[in-house]
Structure formats: C-alpha cells, structure tokens
Symmetry: C2
Subunit: 369 residues, 2 copies
C-alpha cells in the first residue's frame, strides 16, 4: 500500500519495507543548514542526488538555497518537472542524444553543466546555438579526488579561455568536488586538507580575474565539509546534500554529526526469530545499500545487523530488550548510505508524530541517463 490511502494512518499500519521521512527532523535539518549558511560568505546549492525529490528541493530553496545540484540529466529533468528553475548538473553530459536534451531543457529553465574537455564544450555550444538556447558551463577541476576534471593552473586556464569564447555557452566558473575529503580524518585534519586542496584553484581564479575573465562561482563541497568549504574565501556555493536526511556513515563524521539528525529511516518487519539471539528483517540489498557500512537500528540497543542478503537482514540480539523482538514487530533502521538507499525506493512515506502526512515520489529514482 503506497499512495493516498496511507495518509492519516498510524505508522504501525504501514507495511514494510518502506522508506520514511521524519518530517519534523527533515525540516529542522533544512532550517539548521539555512541558519548556518546565512552566517558564511558561500551560498548553498544542495545536491538533489540525495533526495531525488523536487518537493524537498523546493523546501531547501524556500529556506534560502540558490537552486539545486544534481548528478544526471534525468535528475535535472525530474527537478524541472517539479518546479525547480536553477539547476547545476555537476557532471559531464556526453553524447549527442543527451546534449540535445540538455540544450532543449535550457530553453525552459536555467541549467548549468560541468565540462572537462574542449570537444565536449564545443558540442554543447553548437547544439545550444542550433536550439536557440544558452547553457551555463563550469569547468571541472580536479581538487584531488582524481576522478574527472582538468588540473588547476594552466590546464584550467586554457580550457576556460576556450569555453568563454564559445557562443551558446555562458562561462559560470568552476566545479570542484573534494569527495575524497568529505569523511576524512578529524575536523581539524579535514579543514587543513580541504584548504590545501582548494588553494591552487583559488589561485587560478585570481589569475583569470586579473586577466579580465570573470569567474562567477566556484561550486563544490559535501555534507562532511559544509562548515569548511563554505568558509574558504573564493568558494561561492556549497553542494552538501546528505545533511537533509543524514545516515549512519555521516553520523560518525564530526561536524555534521553535531548539527544534523537522522531524518529518514527504513521501516522493516521482523520476519523470522529462529533462535533467541537472531532476528531476520525484511530489508536487504534490494532496499538498503552496504557500501558505506551496514544499516543500524535507531531505537533498540543490543542489536547489530551483521549481514544483508538480497531481501534479508540478519540481526544479532545481545540485550534482553532486543531479545523481546517477535515475528511481526516493525522497527526503524537507519541507512548506512542514504543517497544510494533512496535510489532503491519509488516513494517516501512522510510521517510526523507517528502519523502519515504525505506520500512523495522519489522522482529522480533510477534516472541515471
């Protein structure tokens, strides 16, 4: 049962497995981030890859965010359909079919996209001219994650000069994601590493601006670095996404752990209690992801999820409380990694004070094209 029929029902009546937003907790996370961001120079462009929901994106914008970030063209389309007007795709859009979609969409909302080769920029430029649209372009710079992106300095400057001269494109600045650092070390180690990572790019920006090329923004950052990247002079936009829901992994990172609270959970049922110290839940690899650590119980001490198979979670019960769990009991489980877990679900059940208030589509789910 997923749909209007759920609204007004107690969570005890809601079937499992399901993905549930705690509305109060999510709204508090959005408000707390908005309060923080109003105190620093950078703005917030929250990453929508976490929630994949234009409803949540508009709440963030209503609280002061600049717009949304996303990873894929399909996610951008889902955001646009839901009313978001200012969207940054923080990735390369490659191939003539996707570029046609990009420049088409750019006639109907304000799109920005990352590039890291002249050829890709030229293809977008030519398609934009043909479509009569205009696309904002950020040059992606590698700040140490060693994934996509050109190097700061000469390479970046050369690409910016080319991009800036292409019709149909508006040079919008630099995309620079320090993904390798968002969970790195202690708060102070992380601060030092992030500042070092961005320093060559900030210098590149200065060189460009001295030569008369304006760099509108440097955009980057994640939930683990929101309170570092946002304070670096020369960084304009922070793309933190996971803060809105948090997860078990970010809950162990000092910084976000102090400000944000779990606002999403998997709603699961105990389906088997074969021996006193083992329970089996009806969540597994098809409803929860393990790559950043296994999910955890939110409410019951003495419980450890020790394995996920496709549709089962094995739980070891080490306390008297935990051993009270019976077949049919429903429990709240915190995802290990919220972004990939959300992508396994079609809908959010939105609950407040234990009652269902809404059902929202995960509109960007599976939109990886």
């Amino acid at each position: 049962m997923f749909g209007a029929d759920l609204i007004g029902r107690a969570m005890s009546e809601v079937d499992t497995p399901g993905l549930v937003i705690d509305a109060d907790a999510m709204e508090k996370n959005i408000a707390d981030m908005a309060e923080y961001i109003s105190s620093v120079p950078a703005g917030l462009r929250p990453h929508a890859k976490t929630h994949k929901s234009p409803i949540v994106a508009l709440k963030q914008i209503e609280a002061g965010a600049i717009g949304s970030t996303c990873a894929k063209l399909g996610e951008a389309e889902a955001l646009q359909r839901g009313g978001v007007r200012d969207i940054l795709i923080a990735n390369q859009i490659v191939g003539h079919r996707k570029i046609a979609r990009l420049v088409g969409m750019a006639r109907h909302c304000d799109i920005a996209v990352a590039v890291d080769t002249e050829e890709n920029a030229r293809q977008i430029s030519e398609a934009a001219i043909a479509a009569g649209s205009s696309v904002r372009v950020l040059v992606e710079v590698n700040v140490g994650m060693d994934r996509c992106g050109v190097e700061a300095g000469e390479d970046a400057i050369a690409l910016v000069k080319k991009v800036s001269s292409m019709p149909g494109l508006r040079f919008f600045g630099f995309q620079a994601y320090e993904g390798h650092l968002v969970m790195y070390g202690t708060r102070s180690q992380r601060e030092e590493a992030v500042k070092s990572a961005f320093a060559p790019l900030i210098e590149t920006r200065k060189q460009l601006e001295s030569s008369g090329i304006e760099v509108p923004v440097i955009s980057g950052g994640g939930t683990g670095t929101f309170d570092i990247t946002s304070q670096i002079e020369g960084v304009d936009e922070v793309q933190a996404g996971s803060y809105v829901f948090m997860d078990a992994k970010y809950g162990t990172v000092d910084g976000p752990d102090a400000r944000f609270n779990p606002a999403i959970y998997l709603w699961a049922t105990v389906v088997s209690r074969p021996v006193p110290d083992r329970a089996v839940l009806d969540i597994g690899l098809k409803t929860a992801t393990p790559e950043m650590g296994l999910p955890k119980f939110l409410d019951i001490e003495g419980t450890e999820i020790t394995a996920l198979s496709e549709e089962h979670a094995k739980v070891t019960l080490t306390s008297e409380d935990a051993r009270q769990l019976a077949v049919g009991d429903k429990v709240r489980i915190q995802p290990g990694h919220v972004c990939t877990t959300v992508n396994l679900h079609d809908n959010y059940v939105v609950a407040r004070n234990g009652v269902v208030e809404a059902v929202w589509e995960v509109a960007g789910r599976g939109r990886s094209q």
Copy 2:
C-alpha cells in the same frame, strides 16, 4: 530513450547507462540448463529474483521449468500479471496486509510459500479459509545458512505435523536454501558440503514419509550448486536463478563457469579521460552493485574498474588498446552481481547481433513488499 523507439536501432545508437540482454546468449543459457536438468532426477524452478521478468520466466517454463521461484510477494504479483501460473515464494510472508494479498492471489494462480513458525502458518490458514482459497506451504529448514528456518529433525517434524493439519493449507514439503555454499570452495569441496548440509533434511523427509506424511518436494539450490543439489536423491526442485544471465562473480565458480556464458551487460559511456591511464564511465553505485565485487569490462583487456561512486566508475587503463578509449566511446561491462544490479534498472534493452530487438520491463524491480 527507452521504449518502442529503440527497436531496430543499432546498439551504437542506444544511450547509456542501460542494462542489455544478449538474446542469443540468454536463450543458450536457458537451453543448456534445460538439457542438463532433463538428465537428472530433480526439476528446475528458476529463481525470478534474478531477472524479475515474467517474459524471461515464461521462456524458462517453455523450456521445461516447473514454474518460478521468487523472494517477495510483490515479485509474485508481477509474475502472475505476466502469465506465470505456478509460483513459489521462498520466504516468509508476515503481517495481515501481506497475508491478505497472498490468499487473494491464491485464488488466481497456484502459490506456494515458506513458513517457519506455527503462528505464521495459522494466520495464513485462517486468511485462506476466509478468502475461500488454498495455499501450498513449505516448511523452511535451516541447512546451515543460519538465516530463517527451523532445524531438521524434531523441530521440522513438529511444524510439519501442525501445518499438515491446518485447513486452507496444503503441505508442499521443505524449502531449504544452501546459500552459504553456492560459491563455496572447489567443485568437490562444494559437493561434499552440500550433501552433508542436506543429509539431515533428507533423513527427516524419510521419517515423515514412514509415518505416513507425504512430502511432495524439497526445493532449494542456486546457480553455484545446480549440478550438485539436482543430483541428491530426495531433492526435487532446484531454484537456480543467476545462470540465465551469469555475472562476474558466478563466472569464477567452477561448474556454472563451464556451462553458462555472460548474457547481460551494462552499456556505458566514457565521460572523461583526464589522464592517459584513467577513464571514467557513466555507471556507478546507482546502476551497478559492488557487494560481490566490482563490474568488469567484457571486451577490452588492460582495463580495471577500481572504484564506483554514485554515478561514476573509475577505470585504470594498463594496455595500449585500453588507452585508445576516448570520451564518448561506449563499452560493455559485466555486472559483479546480476540480481542486485538488475533491481536498479526499469527496463531491459534486448539485443541480438548488435541490434535492438525488444524492450522489456523489469517488472519486479523494487517490488520488495
């Protein structure tokens, strides 16, 4: 572009990321398994959790399979809607909402379900009587995976006697999945371990049958044990699923590796080539799963996928051939674990000789309730 518009196009025109069935290879895997299974006492009831497609399930049945196995009620509903009539849900169905769906569906096709408690069996019995339907029930026995299930011997016999006496239920035998052994050791180590694991259950079956309780089937087995479990006297149905597509993990297991070939791939694009020995693909944790090992290139030597982030795969290129890869090139990637990878996709592109022949829905995707 996913839909009828794709049909008849060359794969080079198909956008990425996408999940592609090689129709010839899949049909050969189905035929090869059918040929094998006709030579052994056990029948085949292929697990549909792998493909989640009634179209593929019906092909397997057409080749001689008894019916389908699935993990979830939602998957069973998807199979039924697609025309499958004999469906085993190899798991417990818990809670009154799901039990109502189960006994309702049992009026329209022949459903079997696993139980491991008297209470769950009684709830199904009562609901079936109220609905005027009849449900086949298998007692799940733990054969060493230590997940769900009662122990062979006294516990199993006691539960069988209770289940056998309940109206609305038809005792159908034992569900027994040796999931801990499907990738275990060498072929001969696996054979010894599987036989030992099933021995107490086979003995339990004999005891029941001597006492006059017929045990219609023992059902279990996976792709890694299909040629062992199917030869054990007293095992009637093998539930192997992955054989239909294979994946990188099962491709390393001796037995299935010799008989079945890769029949599915991720279709991916190179989106960045920042340095000579690195390429980045547009697949990641939202289109491919890492829990049984990272995906691999099917066609190009000297390539290693070293990391998946949400929408990126980092590839290290160690050969001259591999270093020819350019931005925009499309490549075939074999999933690490096919069952969970399929669950990330809405559709299959079905290709034969490099041309799209059909687009099929992954009808059971996300149907974990």
